[in-house]
């Protein structure tokens, strides 16, 4: 994200800052009038870049008004390996993130309606430690899958994540089989599971629940892949072409069913859900 898209306003000795009037697209750098930007659901009208949404913004544009009921909001990060790096302890980093972002984990889960169809949702938020899959996030995603199973509700997961959270070591890696075990039970029970891959969905999240939907749906231009671009370039000692690991690349290679523009997502999901309801 461009460092000036959501500029921190100077703190002292200034009158209260005015509402930002312009947004700079972090992809094409075009200046977009904020009103237009918001009306366009934070999609750049010039280059169609789909900016990351916060989990509550996503819920707001996806679910029918006032239908969202959050599950397990109290589940938070834990520090299973008492991790510390050169700069700080994970525990402190996690606390600082919670205060800054106002979330307790990188995913919010719950139940709500899409055009009157009741669904279970999990929505990841990239602002929370890069949307990383920690043990709290894995637990919430599994519990929501379990809820969907018990109540026979379709499950929709919106992913936005850099992958497993290395600060939780092997415990975070084990959230991959853990979440997939929940999805497997939905598959076996015939409960719809839709994975929506948004920018970016990589590493351990792409290599677990995000890639095994009945439908894998992506937003345009989203970065989706297993290994990081830099790691691949170091391995093959070549630069990768533009467009590698994009939603469009995945569609071409057979790993997503459709690329759906953000403004059409709710209608798309509703029509698929209605199709399934006719069983």
């Amino acid at each position: 994200m461009g460092w000036f898209t959501k500029s921190k306003k100077p703190v002292e000795a200034l009158p209260p800052p005015e509402e930002e009037l312009w947004i700079v697209c972090s992809s094409c750098k075009a200046h977009i009038f904020k009103q237009e930007w918001d009306k366009n659901l934070q999609v750049c009208p010039k280059c169609n870049f789909h900016e990351k949404l916060t989990c509550y913004e996503r819920i707001h544009i996806t679910l029918d008004e006032k239908t969202f009921r959050e599950f397990n909001a109290e589940i938070s990060t834990s520090d299973p390996i008492q991790f510390s790096d050169a700069a700080e302890a994970y525990k402190d980093k996690a606390e600082a993130t919670k205060t800054k972002v106002g979330l307790k984990e990188s995913v919010v889960t719950g139940s709500g309606k899409i055009k009157d169809i009741t669904v279970t949702v999990a929505v990841m938020d990239f602002r929370f430690l890069g949307g990383s899959l920690g043990s709290g996030a894995g637990e919430k995603i599994l519990l929501a899958a379990d809820y969907a199973l018990r109540h026979s509700r379709p499950y929709i997961v919106f992913s936005a994540s850099g992958g497993a959270r290395m600060h939780e070591g092997i415990i975070s890696l084990m959230q991959m089989p853990k979440t997939c075990a929940g999805i497997a039970r939905l598959h076996r029970a015939g409960i719809p599971y839709i994975s929506v891959l948004t920018h970016p969905t990589t590493g351990g999240v792409s290599a677990s629940y995000a890639m095994v939907g009945d439908l894998n749906i992506a937003e345009p231009g989203a970065l989706i892949g297993f290994a990081g671009r830099r790691v691949i370039e170091q391995t093959i000692k070549q630069e990768l072409p533009n467009g590698f690991q994009t939603a469009e690349y995945l569609l071409e290679h057979g790993f997503v069913d459709q690329i759906v523009h953000r403004k059409d997502m709710k209608d798309f999901l509703a029509s698929v859900l209605r199709y399934w309801q006719r069983r």
Binding site: M174, A184, A207, A227
Partner: protein, 312 residues
């Protein structure tokens, strides 16, 4: 290859070698001396290995002379029939699989394949699997399910191969699919981490009813080098990252991620393949014996419980 901290051990080994050579001369009587040195060597090996740092254990786990999957198969199986291909794209040489007979048990084995030398390692891609490797493994697991045969999975990989073709063919999907399918596979799965358990590349064939680890093997969400370069911004801080990640067998046992640690002979698995393989066999047979008698329904339910508890 000789590791820094093994130098005193290697010195003794050299002396023993020299004495043994001389002992072949007529009238030489070095028996008691050799026995004494052997005793010293074992003591020293125990002493050194009891104090290894996590980073030193990483070195042992990656030691080129460590027994490989083919060695375990050679030492434990009276029969092995290799099966190739994912029936879709190709045959990944980085993943080995087939039908095997382990003592009284017929099993399907899958695992990462590393090489014994540079040529072999290039051929097997250093045990880094491509999507077709994970898909081959899944195909063989389905075969196991069909014939109600237990699956034994050997983990030893730096990670899934990070190449452009692997991405094009769906590395993420292949691993995700395996995690999903393995959680409900209607037959027992025993996993044994023999060397490196490298992140998604390891767990991609690593979901099991019982997960075992060799004493000097490692299992981690990211390589210490990778972690160091991201969080320490310096790949040379890998020793610090190795300690912070808690990636040793003992750590994973404490964290309840693995069920049992298989002891290695003094001085590590690379010093004594036979003893290592025999200890592994003993542990595998013990668990297989229990698992084959369990009801499939209970087994699969317990597998779900096992994974859903991790990090709760």
């Amino acid at each position: 290859m000789e590791l820094d901290f093994e130098k005193p051990l290697v010195e003794i080994e050299k002396k023993i070698g020299e004495l043994e050579k001389s002992a072949q001369a007529p009238d030489a009587q070095f028996g008691p001396e050799i026995a004494e040195l052997e005793r010293k060597k074992t003591e020293l090996a125990k002493e050194i290995y009891a104090k290894l740092t996590p980073w030193q254990i990483v070195q042992v786990a990656r030691h080129p002379d460590r027994p490989l999957m083919v060695d375990y198969l050679g030492g434990m199986c009276s029969q092995f029939i290799e099966l190739h291909g994912d029936r879709c794209f190709g045959d990944d040489p980085g993943v080995l699989g087939g039908l095997a007979t382990f003592g009284d048990y017929r099993v399907v084995v899958i695992g990462h394949r590393k090489g014994k030398n540079v040529e072999e390692n290039v051929k097997f891609n250093f045990g880094m699997a491509n999507p077709e490797g994970y898909r081959k493994a899944l195909r063989l697991m389905r075969l196991a399910e069909k014939y109600r045969l237990p699956v034994v999975s050997f983990i030893d990989t730096p990670g899934a191969y990070p190449g452009p073709e692997a991405e094009a063919r769906g590395q993420a999907e292949a691993i995700a699919r395996n995690l999903t399918e393995m959680s409900l596979l209607q037959t027992p799965i025993v996993v044994v981490v023999t060397g490196e358990g490298g992140s998604g590349g390891a767990i991609g064939i690593g979901v099991g009813d019982v997960v075992l680890m060799l004493a000097n093997s490692i299992y981690s969400v990211i390589s210490p080098e990778g972690c160091a370069s991201i969080l320490w911004r310096d790949g040379a801080k890998a020793p610090e990252a190795a300690a912070a990640l808690r990636l040793t067998a003992r750590d994973l046992l404490e964290l309840d991620v693995v069920d049992e640690v298989i002891p290695e002979p003094p001085g590590g698995a690379h010093r004594n393949h036979e003893e290592t393989i025999s200890a592994t066999q003993k542990s595998l047979l013990k668990h297989l014996k229990k698992l084959v008698h369990a009801s499939t329904k209970k087994l699969v339910a317990a597998r779900y419980e096992k994974y859903s508890r991790i990090g709760r």
